[in-house]
């Protein structure tokens, strides 16, 4: 099931965030890359994501995504700990020995999610709502 992009929060570095409340007031942030960024990157060939358990810091890179042309860092929107990684993006196809990033390019708000982060500490990068993020993207052309 894909999330509705209009319901998500965004960073100016093109990550999307879906925040959920868990038991005991623990929040979990599901993080992905926006469709705008996927379209701009095109021709994705590689993604590097952290192992579960890795501590991440708001505004600091937690992984990278690589296209034919260039490599881009992925920035964590919150302080916390990685609790789950989208394994489908990391598992090589046994035939080609290469990962298949189709779910990321075709369904960035659903099957192409990247990591779930248990929010810890208070740090958070600046988030934009859909309308503000879209405006930023439109201006960037």
């Amino acid at each position: 099931m894909s999330l509705d992009p209009k319901s998500l929060q965004y960073t100016s570095t093109h990550e999307w965030i879906h925040l959920e409340d868990g038991p005991g007031g623990v929040k979990t942030a599901t993080v992905g890359v926006s469709d705008f960024a996927i379209q701009a990157l095109t021709d994705l060939v590689h993604i590097d994501l952290p192992e579960p358990g890795r501590a991440v810091q708001a505004g600091k890179p937690f992984g990278e995504v690589e296209s034919v042309k260039a490599v881009s860092d992925l920035y964590s929107p919150v302080d916390g700990e990685v609790v789950e990684v989208n394994k489908a993006l990391m598992t090589p196809d046994p035939k080609t020995n290469f990962v298949n990033l189709d779910s990321l390019t075709q369904d960035p708000y659903g099957a192409g999610w990247l990591v779930k982060i248990r929010v810890k500490g208070g740090g958070q990068s600046e988030w934009l709502d859909y309308a503000t993020y879209k405006k930023q993207c439109d201006e960037a052309g």
């Binding site: 095109t42 021709d43 060939v45 990278e64 690589e66 034919v68 290469f98």
Partner: protein, 384 residues
């Protein structure tokens, strides 16, 4: 888009067709229309057209032109036949590479012979200044040995039509039999299309993709109409417009060097694997004495191809490691759409410049395994 950037006659077409425009050597050029991998694959399997009107085109004519070029370029020129094209270098006095060029020998509608030297867009001004420095008026106007030099770059558009179906696409548009044209040959042609308004063009069987193909120069005025005519002709054959992104992945697979990456003024032709383009006996050109000396010395480093074991892509400037020691540097790297793995070119110490040698590339702090591979990465079945 920066309004000070130069525009080719196809600028509006590129923008209208969704191209992502970038600043390339001061020109607004399409890096890709949609997917670099798709544009690359279309070139290998069918045919693609690329606007290369940003390339510098320098024309030399007059009774002294052949000798002047022989005394400017590293390659022999004086023995060229009409219709012949050669890859050559322009070197500075130290033997460093100022540019890599194609020199072609053609004739115009009146039968007047002339040479065209195609230079890199980013080096055009530098090479033009170099030519002026070596062609003062008293040299250009020696009676009986005149040299007339014209920079045609802004007068002619240039398209690369590359891929196994390039003959089929272009044949209906020109008055010569393309299947018999040999590789690295070129000629003046009549354009058989009303949009050409009886203007001619220059066509050569050359390219920068490792694929069969042609490069076509036409006047800027008729360029958009001819471009469209080629696309219309190629539509049933699967032609796609191809941006500079795929042009780069194509040339890299073909093992072709790119100025600013493999080539620079600090690079000599022998370490770059371009000794074949240096003819050191006969005409004296800038850098010849230095090259005669460098040729006798052991190589400091060698250009090699690298194939990565993993999926991370090496990029220009990344250190090449052997036994933990930096023994070279990547000059170009990409994900090869044909081999479906990351590849790179770079310079390494001669001791590790052998096919099969295992080494590592420092990809942003991580030593990624790679091995040296013989260039080119990709070679087509040659029929011409």
């Amino acid at each position: 888009m920066d309004p000070t950037l130069l525009r080719t006659p196809l600028f509006d077409w590129h923008v209208a067709h969704g191209a992502r425009m970038v600043d390339f050597a001061g020109w607004a050029m399409p890096v890709q229309y949609a997917s670099i991998i798709d544009e690359h694959t279309a070139t290998r399997r069918a045919v693609a057209i690329t606007d290369i009107s940003h390339m510098g085109r320098l024309r030399f004519e007059g009774p002294g032109a052949a000798v002047f070029l022989a005394e400017l370029l590293t390659r022999r020129v004086a023995d060229m036949e009409l219709g012949q094209i050669r890859y050559s270098l322009v070197t500075n006095d130290e033997g460093g590479i100022l540019d890599d060029v194609l020199v072609g020998y053609y004739h115009d509608a009146c039968g007047q012979p002339f040479y065209v030297v195609v230079v890199n867009a980013g080096n055009r001004q530098k090479v033009v200044d170099w030519i002026h420095a070596h062609l003062p008026r008293e040299r250009a106007e020696i009676p009986g040995r005149e040299v007339i030099f014209t920079d045609l770059s802004r007068l002619w558009a240039m398209f690369a039509v590359q891929g196994p179906k390039s003959v089929d696409v272009l044949q209906p548009l020109v008055n010569i039999d393309l299947q018999w044209m040999r590789y690295y040959r070129g000629t003046r042609v009549q354009l058989l299309h009303p949009a050409a308004r009886r203007q001619g063009g220059i066509i050569s069987r050359t390219g920068y993709t490792g694929e069969d193909g042609f490069e076509l120069s036409v006047g800027t005025e008729i360029a958009p109409a001819i471009w469209q005519a080629i696309i219309d002709q190629g539509q049933p054959l699967g032609i796609v417009p191809c941006g500079l992104g795929a042009r780069d992945t194509l040339r890299l697979e073909a093992g072709m060097p790119l100025y600013g990456h493999e080539l620079s003024e600090q690079t000599n032709p022998f370490e770059a694997g371009l000794g074949f383009a240096c003819h050191l006996v006969g005409y004296d050109f800038p850098g010849r004495d230095a090259l005669l000396r460098i040729q006798k010395e052991p190589l400091r480093r060698v250009r090699v191809g690298l194939e990565m074991s993993g999926q991370r892509v090496p990029r220009q400037g990344y250190p090449i490691l052997s036994g933990g020691q930096p023994l070279g540097e990547v000059t170009s790297g990409t994900f090869s759409p044909t081999l479906k793995k990351p590849i790179a070119m770079g310079f390494v110490a001669p001791v590790i410049a052998k096919a099969g040698i295992e080494l590592q590339v420092d990809v942003r702090g991580r030593a990624e395994p790679a091995h040296v591979i013989e260039l080119p990465f990709y070679q087509r079945d040659r029929r011409v």
